[in-house]
């Protein structure tokens, strides 16, 4: 399925700040992470480490094969959520993040996401939502877990 790049589409179906319920799970979709997607992400930030590109090098490393960089969750966030997810609302401003890393994602992994809002509040006239995200591989192992602060457009 083609990824919908028009973030205005389905905008009306997305939850506003008022409708977001902290604690309520967000709808998510599993995603197969390809080597191509990993390398495209790496190139966009100029990260050409052989652990992501050189199969022979990676095989000899402690990882025993190619992996994705820790920050691959940047891509996974939008890969594992449907077009109606409020993280796509145009004007959503990312105010900060914290992530912890357990094991690397690997090419071919089927990634799933458990996500929810944890808190919402008004500060300095702005509407904030704190969200919690945990990515798992197909074996149910945690890849990484993160918390983000967003300022909501409405």
């Amino acid at each position: 399925m083609e990824f919908e790049t028009d973030f205005w589409r389905d905008a009306a179906e997305r939850k506003s700040w008022d409708a977001i319920v902290p604690g309520e799970p967000r709808e998510t979709v599993p995603y197969v992470l390809t080597l191509e997607a990993i390398q495209k992400y790496c190139r966009a930030v100029g990260d050409m480490h052989p652990l992501y590109f050189d199969e022979e090098y990676a095989k000899e490393s402690v990882y025993g094969g190619l992996i994705a960089p820790p920050s691959i969750h940047i891509l996974l966030m939008f890969s594992c959520t449907p077009t109606t997810d409020w993280m796509r609302s145009p004007g959503t401003i990312n105010a900060g993040q914290s992530w912890t890393y357990n094991i690397p994602a690997r090419p071919g992994d089927t990634i799933s996401l458990q996500a929810r809002a944890l808190d919402k509040f008004i500060k300095r006239d702005r509407l904030f939502v704190i969200h919690d995200n945990v990515f798992f591989n197909q074996h149910g192992e945690v890849i990484c877990s993160g918390r983000g602060w967003t300022i909501r457009p409405n």
Binding site: T5, R43, G46, V62, I74, S98, I103
Partner: protein, 148 residues
């Protein structure tokens, strides 16, 4: 392996690569991250105001900072068999096409726990004018044995 933990000290510095931000690099990041928020694409939209904030044009994804910081830390860590275990970031100033940014890290503290060894790094990303556009903190683990 793992010599780095004994080699580094509080105050040790790590320098990341410079990254020149253009409309093309921002677009490339949209395609790579699937984050097509109009903040990064639509100049007309960005003429508007966002609560109390006005940007005046498209801005780089904050998460590009996150990716560049990760690249700096993992380049440093991989070489020594160490592992990036945590990264926390906050964006301070929007980054725009034409800016050049560069991440830096300083070892702030080191700790040995029951099973491993850790360094806490203070992170900053500076623009070409020396302004801090992002700041954060990272934790790197130096396993006693090699870990997968």
């Amino acid at each position: 392996m793992n010599d780095l933990f004994s080699a580094i000290d509080v105050g040790s510095r790590v320098e990341g690569s410079q990254f020149a931000v253009t409309r093309e690099t921002i677009r490339e990041f949209c395609d790579a991250s699937l984050d097509y928020n109009p903040l990064h694409l639509d100049d007309e939209y960005m003429k508007g105001s966002f609560g109390r904030t006005q940007f005046g044009g498209i801005i780089m994804h904050g998460m590009t900072n996150f990716g560049l910081i990760t690249r700096m830390i993992t380049d440093w860590a991989h070489e020594w068999g160490a592992i990036q275990r945590r990264l926390e970031t906050r964006w301070l100033i929007p980054v725009k096409p034409g800016d050049t940014i560069q991440p830096f890290a300083t070892v702030k503290s080191m700790k040995t726990t029951d099973e491993s060894r850790w360094a806490v790094l203070e992170i900053e990303v500076l623009n070409q004018g020396g302004e801090k556009v992002a700041q954060g903190e990272a934790q790197v683990e130096f396993p006693v044995r090699e870990a997968a």
